[in-house]
């Protein structure tokens, strides 16, 4: 083989590799569109025909199996998702921020490394194990503590979701605090500020966008979580009246019913409509979080 042939070969193979790299890079876009496409594709046949969108969003009647007149109202499911998510965030956002502040500003290097590893482990616990903890461990504790007849309810789901979303809130929040230039801290120290004053008066205002993004990502995680809420929040489709009511969320409904729905039937397709809705919610939450973070970067570069 002549030298020039070898060279040509290597040029060709190199350009092949480079194209493979490009295509893999662009594939992420492809996958997001594919997810949209395939979920919508299953949903579209009922979306503008059989499904009354007004009833879909405003009715509390979710009776997909009714022989006489199936009803697909997701208001109760939306209320379920909202109540569990909101309560979870009420617990996890302050706790996550507190832990982020402690780790980034008050903690020594050694304990910080240890705590971060522990929290990484917590983030790795599979959602079905979280669900199991809610179902088996938290359930009797809640019954004992509140006297509720059943411990699988909003409170249970919210505690589990809060613990699940704390790691992401904490790590994104810590990144946001770390991203505040050290010059800000030094200037504050020079003015005689204490650590807490630095945190309260300087870091929190400076990092507020990053912290907001952290909270949003926590919301995204909580809204989309499936197995844990399926196991820990109960199964009654209803508008909750107290934190001790069991509810059903959007995600749990899909997980519980898709297996039984007739493929291609109305019920089956409506579950895909719910999936599309979830997809849109998560997209909006993630894009907002991304924009918020971009916002800070833009300002810092300027």
């Amino acid at each position: 083989m002549s030298h020039s042939m070898k060279r040509t070969l290597s040029v060709i193979s190199e350009s092949l590799v480079e194209w493979a790299i490009r295509i893999c890079g662009w594939s992420a876009i492809l996958f997001v569109f594919a997810i949209f496409f395939f979920v919508f594709r299953e949903a579209v046949p009922v979306l503008f025909t059989q499904l009354d969108l007004r009833e879909f969003f405003t009715s509390v009647n979710w009776r997909p199996d009714s022989r006489i007149r199936p009803q697909f109202g997701i208001l109760a499911l939306l209320a379920g998702t909202a109540s569990v998510t909101i309560l979870a965030m009420v617990i996890s956002v302050p706790a996550g921020f507190a832990a982020a502040i402690y780790l980034s500003e008050f903690c020594g290097r050694k304990p910080r490394e240890t705590l971060k590893i522990v929290i990484e482990f917590l983030a790795a616990i599979p959602s079905v194990v979280w669900g199991f903890i809610g179902y088996m461990v938290l359930n009797p504790i809640i019954i004992w503590a509140t006297g509720a007849p059943i411990g699988i309810n909003i409170l249970n789901g919210a505690i589990i979701l809060a613990l699940m979303s704390v790691p992401i809130i904490m790590s994104v929040g810590e990144d946001a605090l770390k991203a505040v230039p050290d010059g800000y801290r030094e200037a504050a120290v020079a003015l005689g500020a204490s650590r807490w004053q630095i945190v309260y008066k300087v870091l929190l205002p400076a990092a507020k966008n990053g912290l907001l993004a952290a909270a949003l990502l926590g919301v995204g995680r909580a809204v989309g979580e499936t197995m844990a809420v399926l196991m820990a929040t109960g199964h009654s489709v209803q508008i909750p009246h107290s934190f001790l009511d069991p509810v059903r969320t959007l995600t749990a409904t899909i997980a519980a019913e898709l297996g039984e729905a007739v493929e291609g039937g109305t019920h089956y397709r409506v579950l895909f409509v719910i999936g599309s809705l979830l997809m849109i919610i998560s997209l909006v939450v993630n894009l907002t979080a991304d924009l918020v973070v971009k916002g800070i970067r833009g300002k810092q570069n300027a």
């Binding site: 992420a28 997001v32 599979p126 079905v128 669900g131 088996m136 807490w196 898709l258 993630n286």
Partner: protein
């Protein structure tokens, strides 16, 4: 003559049983506060002019005795502590640290006013000190106290997040202890899953993880390479990055729906190991992409520049310099993908996981029980079914399955962390 040394003056007072002509010594204490005030001011004016204004670290202390000559145990801290600040322009102070009195005379008058009608008890001490210019003022002290409080509260919250969880996890472990054994791992579920072990689901999980890894690792690593090495700063790159973020944020149940629509129905895989693995692969792709991108970004730019200067092409540089120097970080991401894929339940619910499959107990067939077109059991789904769907399963079996699943994920993460720590310790730049 100016004073060279700081002095502490101690006077005694004993409201009970001392005579009117006491001079403030322990043997002949003052009888009343009024007399004490008058004599102390008089004393310092006459003999020690410097002390009149309390200079330096001077201190005047008035100790209350039970009876002349009889002390009682003194408190560690004076019960009453007042401040004098002679060097500062002060208006009428009230003796607190924030507003000290200007000199000894007004201080004694102030003390009289404060203590008028209040009986001193034995052991009480009234202390007058100079307010040091550089000592912590009340505001400063409050600041420090708030700081300390904040630290304690924040630490308590952090501990409150971590400790109960560790408690719960160890509780799971103790409940699972009776069934945890080698046989639990290698036996198949028996008796409608109410007895036996977890071999079939364990193998199913290994299948799903291995195949999804085989799909996701090459795509993810190459995508990471693209983002860090090839992509320019333009709209397309921003779009790709946005897509990665969104891919990571898509709810797992939506991934399941996508798997049903794309792999089970459209691609014609049916509910199978293949469809489930492909769904898991798409879902876990962002983990590999982001960690690869970060690992590559950590390789100093000068390494690349040196290589380019030798005439190497872009791909040659990546292959010989960038990838070898970032392999640890990439590996971390790949391992994390494994841990995600092993634990996920929702995406495999309708794409390939099955309630129960009979799997051979022995021989080669027990190691390779599923083909790509078969449906399989999976540990995560198995945990869901035996804890919520099947009745009559012993608690130990349920807890045992949870602990194995969780332990598997934990171990994989431990490997990832060890790799990371090891590589950081050897880092050469």
């Amino acid at each position: 003559m100016p004073e060279l040394f700081d002095r502490a003056f101690q006077y005694f007072i004993a409201p009970a049983g001392s005579d009117e002509r006491g001079d403030g010594t322990a043997a002949r204490p003052f009888q009343s506060l009024e007399r004490a005030a008058a004599l102390i001011v008089d004393n310092h004016r006459k003999e020690l002019p410097a002390v009149k204004v309390l200079s330096g670290g001077d201190e005047v202390e008035l100790v209350c005795l039970e009876r002349p000559g009889f002390g009682s145990p003194l408190r560690k801290q004076p019960r009453f502590r007042y401040f004098v600040a002679p060097d500062e322009v002060a208006l009428a102070g009230d003796g607190t640290e924030a507003a000290p009195w200007p000199d000894l005379e007004s201080a004694m008058a102030g003390v009289l006013q404060i203590h008028a009608g209040r009986q001193l008890r034995a052991g009480d001490r009234i202390q007058l000190t100079r307010r040091e210019v550089f000592t912590a003022g009340i505001i400063e002290r409050r600041k420090v106290a708030v700081d300390r409080l904040a630290k304690v509260v924040l630490a308590a919250v952090t501990a409150g997040l971590v400790l109960p969880l560790l408690a719960i996890l160890s509780y799971l472990f103790t409940k699972a202890w009776p069934v945890l054994s080698w046989r639990f791992l290698i036996e198949n579920p028996q008796n409608y899953m109410t007895a036996g072990g977890i071999w079939a689901p364990l193998v199913g999980t290994l299948y799903l993880v291995a195949i999804s890894l085989a799909i996701a690792a090459p795509i993810g690593v190459l995508a990471g390479v693209y983002l860090n090495e090839y992509a320019g700063d333009n709209w397309l790159t921003r779009l790709v990055n946005l897509a990665v973020v969104n891919l990571a944020g898509v709810p797992s149940i939506v991934h399941a729906l996508f798997g049903v629509g794309a792999f089970v129905l459209f691609a014609g895989f049916g509910r199978s190991v293949m469809a489930a693995s492909a769904t898991l692969a798409i879902m876990t792709l962002p983990v590999i992409i982001t960690s690869t991108r970060e690992a590559l970004a950590a390789v100093p730019q000068s390494f690349r520049e040196a290589c380019w200067n030798m005439g190497a092409s872009r791909w040659q540089t990546i292959r010989t310099i960038v990838l070898p120097n970032s392999i640890g970080g990439i590996l971390t991401g790949v391992i994390l993908q494994v841990s995600r894929a092993a634990g996920e339940t929702a995406p495999i619910l309708f794409t390939g996981a099955v309630f129960y499959v009979a799997v051979p107990d022995r021989g080669l067939a027990s190691i390779f029980p599923y083909s790509l077109n078969d449906r399989c059991m999976a540990l995560s789904y198995h945990l869901f079914t035996i804890s919520t769907q099947v009745t009559g399963v012993s608690e130990a079996l349920q807890y045992g399955t949870a602990v194995v699943l969780f332990g598997l994920v934990l171990m994989v993460n431990l490997v990832s962390i060890t790799v990371r720590v090891y590589l950081r310790s050897r880092k050469r730049w």
